[in-house]
Amino acid sequence: MEQVLVFQLGEETFGLEVALIQEVVESPHLHYIPRAPNHVLGAINFHGNILPVLDLASYQGFLSGTRDHRVIVLPPEVCSLALAVASIRRIIPLDAEALLPFPREQQEQLYIRAVLNCQGTMINLLDTTRLLASLETV
């Protein structure tokens, strides 16, 4: 059974499959990257590898308020990238029957592949493929 890490972006609740996560780490010192785009906060040293940190909230157009001191590190086979979110909640099981389809045409800017109804709370599942694709084009 697949599991989802639930986190907050602004007022919205998002989810990311655990299979797409390498590790959740305490954000060590954030190195400033000169001439980087606004949504790149800086870079961290992750077990000897330099990973850029993406401000997921501001990249998707949310108001970036508070930020969790932990960052989500993606597996190196997916992308060498860390995601900064407002706050990391918990890991919940992904019930495939509770998945609701998300009308993609509605928001081109939002990288959501489906909506999970978890006891009344709508959790937007992050579409990493499109997100990474959009990052590639930048």
């Binding site: 599991q3 655990v18 959740v24 932990r70 890991i91």
Partner: protein, 423 residues
Amino acid sequence: MRIDISYKFIMGFIIVVASIVLLNVVAPHLGIPEEWQQLVTVSVAILVGLILGSIFSKAFTANIRHLTEAAENLSNGNLSRVVRLRSTLFPDETHDLALSLNRVVESLRELVGYIRTSSTKVAESSQNLSATSQQITASAHEVTNTIEQVSRGAETQAEMIERCSHLIKEMAISIDMVASSADRVEDSARDTADNAQRGGDLARATMKKMKQVLGEVEQNGAQIVSFGTQVQKIGKIVEVITGIAQKTNLLALNATIEAARAGEYGRGFAVVAEEISKLADSTGRSAGEITDLIGAIREENQKVQASMKESIGEMDAGREALDSTGQAFEAIIQTALGTQVKATGIAELSQKQTDGARELVVAIDEISKVVTDNAAATEEVSAASEQQAASMEDMAHSAQALSALAENLLDVVKRFQVGTERG
């Protein structure tokens, strides 16, 4: 040489007879005819008798006339003249009579002068007496008036004294009341002093307690400060626990991720990781609650410290107030003791005053009696002075009558002309 009238007559007769005898002897010798001789003798005798008779009778009648005039003068009251007869060689009874008359005149003159001066003096004296008695009458009237005034004054005095007596009796009652009030004041002052003593003792005891409480409060303050530091230490420990919980949570999260990656093999591990995550969450929540509690405790602690400081300040003020209260009680005790002494003095004094007032009442009663006696005596004096006034008026009338009598006497005596030389 005094010769009585009878002898003078005899002498004249003898001379006539002698002349006849002589002529009878002498006639024949003178050449007168015989026939004529008898005739001549007779005629010469008659002539001699006529001459002698006329001389004698003239002298005699002159003296008698003088005497008659003097007697008439005397009867008319003229005492100014002295009877003076022609002095002769041979004075007789007429001269004696003249001398006697002169003596009578002299005596009368003295008598009249004496009566005149005496009656003048009597008149003067009686006038003086009259004036004096009138003055005395006036004085007696004045005395009567004065005595009436005195009598009225005595009546007023009696009324006044009665009022005085009444007032003094009221005063005695008031003084008795003052005395009983002073007794009550004394009792009250004693009670006040006792109460103030107890109050002072209480204030001292309270002071002692308060000092004790203050010491305890200061101790409590120190304890609360140390408690605050302890709580702060707990807070630090809780922070550590919170960090551990967060790390545990992260580890659980990563463990879950790792377990998911391990697939079927990691399932049991995933359950353990989830439990750990739950524990970590629970620990975190508890730590958060503890932190909240610590915050509340610190807040409360600060409040307690502040209120304790306030309490200490208030207690200092209370201590000062208690000090002043103790002093005030001391002052009250002194005042009450003074009041007690004064009240005792007042009670004694008012007792003396009561005695004095009683004596005063007795004295006033005696004065009242004396005044009543005085009034009676004054009425008697008034009656006496009225009688005196009446007597004086009688005396004045008598003096006037006496004066009238003296004037009558003077009038009577005025008839007698005493002459200028005697006044």
